[in-house]
Symmetry: C2
Subunit: 236 residues, 2 copies
Amino acid sequence: MTQQTEPARRTPLNRDRVLRAAVALADRAGIEALSMRSLAHELDVVPMALYKHVANKKQLLDGMVDVIVGEIDPPAGDADWKSAIRRRVLSARRALLRHSWASRVIESRTSPTPGVLDYLNSIIGMFRAGGLSADLTHHAMHALGSRVWGFTQELFPASPGPAPADADPQALAALLGEMAARYPHIVEIVLARPHDGESVVGQGCDDQFEFEFALDLLLDGFERLHRQGWTSAERF
Amino acid sequence: MTQQTEPARRTPLNRDRVLRAAVALADRAGIEALSMRSLAHELDVVPMALYKHVANKKQLLDGMVDVIVGEIDPPAGDADWKSAIRRRVLSARRALLRHSWASRVIESRTSPTPGVLDYLNSIIGMFRAGGLSADLTHHAMHALGSRVWGFTQELFPASPGPAPADADPQALAALLGEMAARYPHIVEIVLARPHDGESVVGQGCDDQFEFEFALDLLLDGFERLHRQGWTSAERF
DNA sequence: ACCGCCGGTGTACGCCGTACACCTTTACGG
DNA sequence: CCGTAAAGGTGTACGGCGTACACCGGCGGT
């Protein structure tokens, strides 16, 4: 028989399948569990096979970034520049939140990929279309920083100390006491959720609110500067 | 002779010497060249010796962060909250700029060290001393994000494409042309330095200016919200 | 005189990324 | 129809990493 009885022939790999599998694996097992070997195993292939489709691991990560960037909604034509940019950035945020590893990978990339450049180019274009000067737009992009991607560096990646979901509440309260003695301002701030829930530990912050708060503060600032015809030459 | 003729006995290691050597090595050779092995070699010691002084590499990096945080100037008592915070943050920036790897390490740390907590606590205290509510301060800290450390995620870590210090200007100009065709807005922005130097490629941005621009935009925003008695409950 | 501990050693394990030579399958031009 | 060359997958191997674990010399305290 010329046909192999084996379950047909594996459909051959290609760059796209590799990238998608990498994204899926990182989603499921975490970015630190993504190695060329583990990815190859996932694809039922020997590690070196991957190198026929991506040059090296850096390029793999770059490709994964572009996959995620491709999930960001295209700009919506209507609306003023401010809310158009706001919407787009929040869309980027949703994409990044779907892949919790993505922000860390974007941070660590050392040279921009075409997809990244496309996105940045288009955001800049939205500022310009809104009438902001190239000068102001330049500084606005810097001011946004990683916020154009919809994320901010978390100051407290998790609650400090051991995970909150362990140990008896006795010890937990004691720990909070220690914290309050040593870092009174931090504790006060962490507990500062205006009214409602008075759970002992502030159950974390509303990240979405925090993000929009800062984003709006910046966008409003840009708008104000734009209206008053600001140029960077003013501060000689 | 009971005395060894060898150059006496090596003064024994301790945690502090290890951390300082690690910082020095990272400064000199880059953070990616810092391994337990290379650090041990630097200290004329076998790799495993380090583990008598730091639990593992994560803790080594945490310790290095605390060394850098220790370089940040203490708060200066005089002056209003805004300029006091401004000064402190810019001092943090100077410390981080002295150790170019530090921002990346701070970003990647997963749980805060005592030194980090001290610093954040004191910044928060400065907001509170200025009269800002715990609520507003909370959001202000989030809005600052990594900017309390004096750095911002760079959008273009270097100029895109190959390093600028190579190849003939002919090819470089052609590359710029391609860029301008594909990413017109980016190119316009990059070249938008108000008057002076008209070098072909914008020779990079004035990072210090960009940082202060964004920092002041945020601080001014906080001040405005403070003056008008803003609380987060407003946006129900 | 002894013991215990502290700091430094040596060996080894299991990961990692990837260079390189090899083999199979497929596509195509003569 | 065949020969060949490319494309895609394999196997082996190397050097590097973090670190577990057993060990050992010398010093201080009893």
